[in-house]
């Protein structure tokens, strides 16, 4: 209990960034931002009116004159936003606490079951002991018949029936067998035959001890029918009866016979004892399994404290309830993150209590299995992604990743200035975990600073990486079966594309056109040809809109690209003329700070005229390319949305966020179908990139914790 409790708490601390941290305000990341804007607003609001007041000779020294309507509005808006944020944080915390309560309730129930079971076993043992004592008494003193002896079985039977419904499933078969035995015993007792049997036995003992009595023979003869039924139950009995039926000629024979019978009786006693033992052992084993089952999730959790892996267990539970919550009217959507992320407060309790049963069966501390088990029991028809491969070899945050178009291989790019090639078919079996570790088959060295973005050519022969130093490097991808410790092959380095003068942040390859497009902090977007001698085709200067953060081709229309900016602008340009074709209507609707709405990633739908943007303000927004209008805006994460990917068929959207989770969305309904907590935070950043495999069922996430994970 204690272990589980503390593990849970620790987990909570590590996984609840917004809820826990927002409160202390020292984080410098969020709240200060608000404070700044507020102070600005207040300054702006109060400054000019103050000037006016001065000119008016301070006619009204009253304080009210210090405020202007816009200033007040700003202030109120700011306060409102702050309250809303706090509210959502509280809600989050509340949901977490509720989850905890439910969890502890479930645990208590489990413990009760366990207790009942143990009580039952104690009673059984007591009964067995009493029986043994009775027999011992009978053997020793002959005459002594302990009548109270027979009460326990009745009690026990009653107890048994009472306990059974609560009893843990796995003991069921055992229990039903025992039940029938007790039932039988009860019948016998009702008929009164058990007493005769006991009498009979005691008489035999007596005869053994030399105190013979003739009347017993009658009893002996009158019991076979009962014996018959009895023997079916107790194996050692038949011999005894068979043997004892034969003799009856002389006293000696009788005594000899009785002696034999008693010996067998001893056997019977012994074997019954053993039977009991075995019973208990069986039950022991089963119970141990149960205990194990109940405890292991806790163990798993504590193990996972420093390993994010544990968290999805909790999160995935709540998933099935999300769609319901999401049916809320759009007005409610704005405050959705807390609720959506953690499930509705109402359904929560049941969910977790119910979940515990499944949790109890978990013995592997792997979040993947957990989510799989749970969702498979709940909804078999839905594909659930589970973490299968962990790609560990980078020394610092993985900024970008990209899959090979056909093969199960991928390349990751990291802040440690290297790129690594991974072959998912070359795995290292990892101990005590169902996920596999992969070691890189090749390390690309060439960048001298963090690598920020990555793109692969349509044939999977080449890849392009953009670095903070402003260079784009071209690599010939070696075979995925290369020996990682082969000798250095300089031909892997296929040159570089120079032009950008500042960090390259976005890179996308268009296989149809064989073009590469890049955007950089020097406020230019450049179009490159994949295989000509003078690769730079066009430089688009876009400083008017801000600093570009991400760029993508518009697939639905063949000669456009879309670029997003730190100013929250998002513009579709014509590739040929470089002129803006459509400016998406991203004007802030509530006068909020534009930096908070900064777009971190823009992706274009593969078939529809739809542009999707991931924002610093936790939203994902959908835009119609033709009208430039906002189609839908939703709070998608608990922290800034950093990365987006659309699956090749255009049905699902994958998003990654600094809240440590990746979420899978159904594009038609915009519903979240799965959330996976995948990475840990470093410098308050968590997930940098997500990707779909273009042709195989893989998704991947890249994190600031220097890991990449592949889900199947």
């Amino acid at each position: 209990m204690g272990v589980g409790g503390s593990g849970f708490q620790k987990r909570r601390r590590s996984c609840g960034p917004a809820g826990v941290r927002g409160g202390n305000g020292c984080h410098g990341m969020r709240l200060p931002r608000m404070d700044e804007t507020s102070s600005q607003n207040q300054l702006a609001g109060s400054g000019s009116p103050a000037g006016v007041a001065n000119r008016q000779n301070l006619e009204e020294p009253n304080q009210r004159i210090q405020y202007s309507i816009p200033g007040i509005l700003h202030f109120i808006q700011h306060e409102w936003a702050r309250f809303e944020m706090e509210r959502s944080q509280w809600e989050l915390e509340r949901a977490e606490l509720q989850a905890k309560i439910a969890f502890l309730n479930g645990e208590r129930k489990g413990q009760e079951n366990l207790k009942n079971d143990l009580v039952r076993r104690i009673k059984m043992l007591e009964y067995a002991l009493k029986q043994e004592r009775a027999k011992y008494h009978k053997l020793k003193y002959g005459t002594e018949l302990v009548q109270g002896d027979m009460n326990p079985p009745v009690e026990e039977g009653g107890e048994e029936v009472r306990v059974d419904p609560d009893a843990i499933l796995s003991t069921n078969t055992n229990v039903s067998w025992k039940q029938s035995r007790h039932l039988l015993r009860q019948y016998l007792q009702e008929i009164g035959y058990t007493d005769t049997i006991i009498d009979l036995r005691s008489n035999r003992v007596r005869s053994l001890l030399g105190i013979s009595s003739g009347e017993n023979e009658e009893n002996h003869n009158s019991t076979p029918a009962v014996n018959g039924s009895d023997t079916t139950k107790r194996q050692p009995d038949p011999n005894r009866w068979n043997v004892s039926k034969k003799p009856q000629s002389t006293l000696e024979a009788q005594i000899r016979d009785a002696e034999k019978a008693v010996m067998e009786n001893f056997d019977f006693l012994r074997s019954e004892g053993m039977e009991m033992d075995e019973d208990d052992d069986e039950e022991d084993a089963e119970e141990e399994e149960d205990v194990h089952g109940l405890k292991s999730p806790k163990v798993a959790k504590t193990l996972d404290v420093d390993d994010v892996d544990g968290e999805p267990v909790e999160l995935d539970h709540e998933f099935p309830f999300l769609p319901d919550v999401e049916d809320n009217p759009p007005g409610v959507m704005g405050f959705g993150p807390a609720r959506r992320g953690y499930g509705g407060p109402g359904g929560e309790d049941d969910a977790l209590v119910e979940g515990l049963g499944e949790l109890a069966q978990l013995t592997v501390n792997n979040e993947a299995d957990a989510s799989y088990d749970i969702s498979s029991t709940k909804e078999n028809f839905r594909k659930t992604w589970t973490a299968k491969y962990t790609l560990r070899s980078h020394f610092d945050g993985v900024r970008a990743l990209c899959f090979h178009p056909q093969e199960p291989t991928l390349i990751t790019a990291s802040e440690d200035a290297t790129l690594k090639l991974w072959n998912l078919q070359k795995t290292v079996p990892a101990k005590k975990s169902a996920s596999l570790d992969v070691e890189p088959v090749y390390t690309f060295r060439g960048h001298l600073g963090p690598v920020l973005c990555l793109a692969m050519s349509g044939d999977g022969e080449k890849c392009y990486s953009g670095g903070i130093d402003g260079t784009i490097r071209i690599w010939n991808i070696p075979s995925s079966n290369i020996d990682p410790y082969d000798s250095y092959e300089p031909s892997v380095v296929a040159g570089s594309l120079s032009g950008h003068t500042d960090a390259v942040w976005g890179l996308t390859f268009n296989p149809q056109r064989q073009h590469l497009i890049s955007c950089a902090a020097d406020s230019t977007v450049r179009l490159w040809s994949a295989d000509t001698r003078s690769p730079l085709l066009y430089t688009y200067s876009v400083e008017r809109d801000g600093i570009p953060t991400s760029v993508d081709f518009v697939y639905e229309s063949s000669n456009q690209f879309v670029c997003s900016f730190n100013t929250a602008n998002c513009v579709i340009f014509d590739l040929e003329t470089g002129k803006p074709v459509m400016r998406l209507d991203t004007e802030p609707d509530q006068g909020s700070n534009s930096i908070s709405r900064q777009i971190n990633r823009v992706v274009s739908h593969p078939t529809l005229p739809l542009t999707i943007t991931g924002h610093e303000d936790r939203h994902i927004r959908f835009w119609d390319n033709n009208s430039g209008r906002l189609v839908q805006s939703m709070v998608a994460h608990l922290d800034s949305v950093t990365s987006l990917a659309v699956d090749p068929n255009g049905l699902y959207l994958l998003s990654g966020s600094h809240d440590c989770s990746i979420r899978l969305w159904q594009l038609d309904s915009k519903q979240c179908v799965q959330e996976i907590t995948a990475h840990r935070k470093k410098f308050d950043e968590s997930i940098f990139d997500v990707a779909f495999h273009p042709s195989k069922p893989y998704i991947a996430s890249a994190g600031a914790d220097a890991l990449a994970k592949v889900f199947v």
């Binding site: 601390r13 590590s14 410098g28 440690d416 250095y488 500042d502 960090a503 942040w505 020097d522």
Partner: protein
């Protein structure tokens, strides 16, 4: 997040300006431009790496500060994270060597004439050319330091795994020594830029990860007086 949109010229987030605490790193002025946090206030599980990188960014020449562990810090984790950082930064040296250190000219991994180093990345240690030795050693170190078997957690590390750090240090150090004795220009450029070899030498000396005899690059003042032979 703080890093967007990162640039040398463009001023970035108001946030950082107003906090008035800039990273002094010459190259990527805006990249990691968020205010520094006190070690105690970092609550991430990757706190040690964060802290080390932060102090390096503040001033990479200030080796004592960089190597000075916070009081409550577990020494095994401290050494481990520093070694990760070294291997990561050594990539810069490897990239530079990649251009100049040819398998045809540096056919073996050597520093002084005394030893030929065999590459331990293979089943049977092998006489790899220097550039391959460099790459294999860094790749092997990356695999070992990220191994789920030896270093499953970055929060606590088994004593037996901490013992592995020494051999990584020894191998990795040979890259410095090879560069120093055979590609002096590259070494000097790199050292001016990063002070990495000096920091590494202080590090392994401080934590006793390598024997002094193996530290053949005369990088520390007091040592260079004692070992004049290598200045030639």
């Amino acid at each position: 997040m703080p890093y967007w949109p990162l640039s040398g010229q463009v001023t970035l987030g108001l946030r950082w300006q107003q906090h008035g605490e800039y990273s002094q790193h010459p190259e990527y002025q805006n990249f990691y431009r968020w205010c520094d946090e006190a070690y105690e206030e970092m609550d991430s599980t990757l706190v040690v790496q964060q802290y080390i990188q932060q102090t390096i960014r503040l001033d990479h020449n200030n080796i004592d500060t960089i190597l000075n562990a916070p009081e409550t810090q577990d020494e095994g984790v401290w050494k481990y994270e520093h070694l990760r950082q070294f291997c990561m930064e050594l990539n810069g040296l490897a990239v530079r060597l990649q251009g100049e250190c040819q398998p045809s000219t540096c056919t073996q991994m050597t520093a002084t004439e005394q030893w030929i180093f065999l590459c331990a990345a293979h089943k049977t240690p092998k006489e790899c050319p220097a550039i391959d030795y460099t790459r294999h050693t860094l790749d092997g170190a990356a695999c070992l330091l990220n191994s789920n078997k030896y270093f499953p957690s970055r929060v606590s590390i088994k004593e037996s795994s901490v013992a592995k750090l020494g051999s990584v240090c020894r191998r990795v150090y040979r890259i410095f020594s090879h560069a120093y004795f055979h590609h002096r220009q590259i070494f000097d450029e790199f050292e001016t830029e990063t002070t990495l070899c000096r920091r590494f030498t202080v590090f392994v000396t401080k934590y006793n990860l390598m024997s002094r005899d193996n530290l053949i690059v005369p990088i520390l003042e007091d040592e260079s007086a004692g070992h004049g032979e290598s200045e030639a």
